[in-house]
Symmetry: C2
Subunit: 151 residues, 2 copies
DNA sequence: GTAATTTCTCAACCTAACTTTAGGTCAAGA
DNA sequence: TCTTGACCTAAAGTTAGGTTGAGAAATTAC
């Protein structure tokens, strides 16, 4: 049973489902800031369970760890964050999700057109879309289906 | 000007927008299989432009290279793939996209509920969802928002 | 025929998000 | 007290999807 004040890293791991090594890594990335006990071991607030849960949800939504760190930086530093604090930040998720969904839907619609016409390569193929291209991870210009902007 | 039979890797790079190094890498991963000329240089079919374009689109949709390789394996080995061949394979994209969109929409809906109630951590928080959890990249069980299945 | 490109292979490097390993310390139970 | 398990640091390893660099050979351009 953990002492009244401060969870050990193992206890936090159990509560969140995260690996101990992952929690240490998150600390190294500035996502969480435990204090140390007399023996040098990490001790965490109970509120950190919520903090790490937030990290996991944000990751599911496609945020990078640095981006999540920036989101978390908007939380109050001194007091334990309230439900309202979390909700304010969560609203950012909403926009992010909306954008991702929209991109995928556009991709799907274009794909439907291409399945219909069987093209997948004609010069007017709508899978060639600069917006969606930009949404892809790779860098540099990529001309889909062999069509270049200047034909 | 490339010879009538076979594009050089540079020509294919120009046509697709992919880096030469990426094309070589794709060959190493079994996504494309050029032949060699007398001097040992790679030569590609014109149909490979379409093949690589397909690879790029599939990547945008979230497929891994091994998965794309498996998709491409369904193409006819001997003759040049027709529009119908490509369309048949593209239909797989449709399902994949549908699933991804659905997952994100569910995530968004749950998030809306959480923003509304401001919880983001209560035991009934719907962001705790096994399906969506499974859709995340990480391995092992993860209990979101500090709630465990068995309370 | 020479110069400039392109291409070749192979190995090393890169980022993100972690995990694993090695070698040692701290804490809790019998 | 002894022992077991949890914890510590630092560095190296892992996977995906490539890029970069070195040194040599092939091809193209003039």
């Amino acid at each position: 049973m953990p002492p009244a004040h401060g969870l050990s890293i193992g206890a936090l791991s159990e509560r969140t489902g995260l690996a101990v090594s992952a929690i240490r890594y998150y600390e190294s990335q500035g996502l969480i800031a435990p204090w140390r006990n007399a023996g040098g071991q990490r001790r965490f607030h109970r509120a950190d369970i919520r903090r790490l849960s937030f990290v996991m949800i944000a990751q599911q939504m496609g945020f990078s760890l640095p981006a999540i760190r920036d989101l978390l930086a908007q939380l109050p530093g001194q007091r334990t964050p309230t439900a309202r604090d979390w909700a304010r930040i969560s609203a950012v998720f909403r926009d992010h999700l909306d954008q991702r969904i929209e991109t995928l839907q556009r991709l799907r619609d274009n794909l439907d057109g291409c399945i219909g016409c069987g093209c997948l390569s004609l010069s007017k193929c709508r899978l060639y879309n600069p917006d969606d291209r930009a949404a892809a991870k790779g860098t540099g210009p990529r001309y889909l289906m062999g069509d270049r902007p200047e034909g």
